[in-house]
C-alpha cells in the first residue's frame, strides 16, 4: 500500500468503514510508516475532540410545532401529488462534479463494511423497547458482576465486560440475551433512578477504537462506541448528558480493569 492510498484509507479506518482484511492492510502500512502513523494519530484525536464537542443543533420547538401542524392539512389527494420518484429526487441535484481520481483506482470497491449502521440502530431501539415490555428485562438478575459475567459464558461467542457501576450512580441489575442483526447479542442492564439503561455488546472484526457518538432515535438516546473488538450501544431514556456520563464511567472502568 502506498502512502497516497493510506492517506485516504486511514479515514475509513477511523470511521470503521473498512472490512477486517483491509483494516489490517492499512494498519500494516501504518506500522511501518512514521508519517502515516502521525497522520492517523492526529486525525483520530481530532475525531475524538469533535465527538466530545456537541456540534448538533436542536430544532426550535416552534419549528417542530409548525411542521406538525402542517401535516394533516397538507395531505393532498393522490391525484394532485406531483410525480417525481425518489430516484429522480436523488438524481436531480447530483453536483455533476468530477469523479475523483480515487474512484477510478477501484479502491472504493474494497472499502465498505457490510453492516448498515442505521438499520442496526433501529434494531437497538426495538430491542430496548422489547426489554421494557412483557417483563423480560433480564435473564439473569444480579447486582453482582461476578454472577452476571459468567452467565454469558457459553451463551455467546464473546464475553461482554460486566462492570458494576453502582458506586458511580448506575446500578447493575442483570444481563439478558437479545437478538440484533439476526445475531445473539449480550445486553447488560443498568438502572439510573427509575430509568433502564440497556448496554448491548457485540463482537466486531474491527479492532479500531471508535470514539463515542450520541444519537437520538424515537426519543431514546443511544451512545455508540467501539473498543478492543467490541461494539457497544448504550440506550436509555435518560438525558444525553447522563448517558454520556454512564459511557465515560464504563469506558474508564474497562480501561482500569485491563490495566489492573
Amino acid at each position: 500500500m502506498t502512502c497516497d492510498e493510506a492517506e485516504i484509507l486511514l479515514h475509513a479506518l477511523i470511521d470503521g468503514e473498512l472490512d477486517a482484511g483491509h483494516a489490517r492492510e492499512v494498519e500494516a502500512h501504518i506500522a511501518g510508516c512514521a508519517a502515516c502513523a502521525a497522520q492517523l494519530a492526529a486525525y483520530r484525536q481530532m475525531s475524538q475532540e469533535i465527538a466530545k464537542a456537541d456540534l448538533r443543533y436542536a430544532a426550535p420547538p416552534a419549528l417542530r410545532r409548525r411542521i406538525e401542524a402542517s401535516l394533516p392539512k397538507s395531505l393532498l389527494p393522490k391525484s394532485l401529488a406531483p410525480a417525481p420518484s425518489r430516484r429522480n429526487v436523488l438524481r436531480g441535484f447530483a453536483l455533476g462534479s468530477a469523479v475523483s481520481a480515487l474512484a477510478a483506482t477501484g479502491l472504493v470497491a474494497i472499502v465498505l463494511r457490510a453492516d448498515d449502521e442505521q438499520r442496526i440502530m433501529s434494531e437497538v431501539v426495538s430491542a430496548h423497547l422489547r426489554s421494557l415490555q412483557a417483563g423480560h428485562l433480564t435473564d439473569v438478575i444480579s447486582t453482582d458482576q461476578h454472577t452476571v459475567k459468567p452467565w454469558f459464558n457459553g451463551r455467546l461467542d464473546v464475553s461482554p465486560p460486566v462492570i458494576d457501576l453502582t458506586s458511580k450512580g448506575f446500578t447493575l441489575v442483570g444481563g439478558r440475551l437479545d437478538y440484533i442483526d439476526a445475531r445473539a447479542i449480550g445486553a447488560v442492564v443498568y438502572r439510573r433512578r427509575q430509568h433502564v439503561i440497556n448496554l448491548f455488546v457485540a463482537q466486531t472484526a474491527n479492532t479500531e477504537r471508535r470514539a463515542a457518538k450520541i444519537e437520538t432515535i424515537q426519543g431514546f438516546n443511544i451512545r455508540r462506541w467501539s473498543d478492543r473488538g467490541l461494539n457497544y450501544w448504550a440506550i436509555s431514556d435518560i438525558g444525553a448528558d447522563e448517558l454520556s456520563e454512564f459511557g465515560e464511567k464504563f469506558e474508564a472502568a474497562v480501561q482500569t480493569n485491563s490495566e489492573g
Partner: protein
C-alpha cells in the same frame, strides 16, 4: 373541508413516525449549510413539506439520507436565491457563533461545561467556514453520523468521491484548527 383520501390519516401517521424523529438532524444540517438560523428553519419546513409530498415515492429503508437529499435540494435553491438577490456573500453573514447556542437549555453551568461549550462554538465556526462540497460531507459524517454509503446516497455522488471529500475536509479543518490554536498576533 375537502373529503380526504381514505389512506391519508394512515399516511400522515407513517410519515410522522418515520420522518419527524430526524427533525434535529435535518435542522443541524440546514444550520451548517445555510449558516443562518431563520433560513435554516424555512429550509427545514420546506424540506418536510416536499418530503411529505413525495412520500408515496419513498421506498425505504434509510429515511435519514432521503431527508438530507431533499434538504440539499432546498438549500441549493436558497443559495441560488441569495446569489441572484445579490445578497451579501456567505462570508458576510452575521457570525453564527455570536448567536445563542440552541443545543441545550441552560441551567447552572459548571466550569467543565463552559469549556466544552466554548470548544463547541469554536469548532462549529471552523466547520461552518469549510468550503462546499467538503463541509456537507464532513457534517453528514461527523455530526449526522451517516455511513459512507448513506452519504453517497444523500449527495448523489460515488462513495469514492465521498471518501476523498472527507479526507480533504478533515485536512482543511485540521489546518484551520491548528491556526486557531496558535497565539494570535
Amino acid at each position: 373541508m375537502q373529503p380526504s383520501n381514505a389512506e391519508d390519516p394512515d399516511r400522515a401517521r407513517r410519515f410522522r413516525e418515520l420522518a419527524l424523529p430526524y427533525l434535529d438532524d435535518v435542522y443541524t444540517l440546514a444550520r451548517y449549510l445555510l449558516r443562518d438560523a431563520s433560513d435554516a428553519e424555512d429550509a427545514v419546513q420546506e424540506c418536510y413539506l416536499r418530503a411529505l409530498k413525495h412520500f408515496d415515492g419513498y421506498r425505504g429503508p434509510a429515511m435519514k439520507p432521503w431527508l438530507f437529499a431533499i434538504l440539499r435540494n432546498v438549500c441549493h435553491a436558497e443559495y441560488a436565491r441569495r446569489a441572484s438577490a445579490a445578497a451579501p456573500s456567505l462570508d458576510d453573514l452575521p457570525e453564527p457563533a455570536q448567536q445563542a447556542p440552541l443545543w441545550r437549555e441552560e441551567q447552572q453551568t459548571p466550569e467543565a461545561e463552559i469549556l466544552r461549550e466554548r470548544d463547541a462554538v469554536t469548532v462549529r465556526r471552523l466547520v461552518e467556514a469549510l468550503a462546499e462540497p467538503f463541509k456537507e460531507t464532513f457534517v453528514l459524517r461527523e455530526i449526522n453520523n451517516l455511513s459512507y454509503r448513506e452519504i453517497a446516497d444523500a449527495v448523489g455522488a460515488p462513495v469514492g468521491t465521498v471518501m476523498s471529500r472527507l479526507a480533504r475536509a478533515r485536512a482543511m479543518l485540521r489546518s484551520a484548527w491548528m491556526a486557531e490554536q496558535e497565539p494570535s498576533k
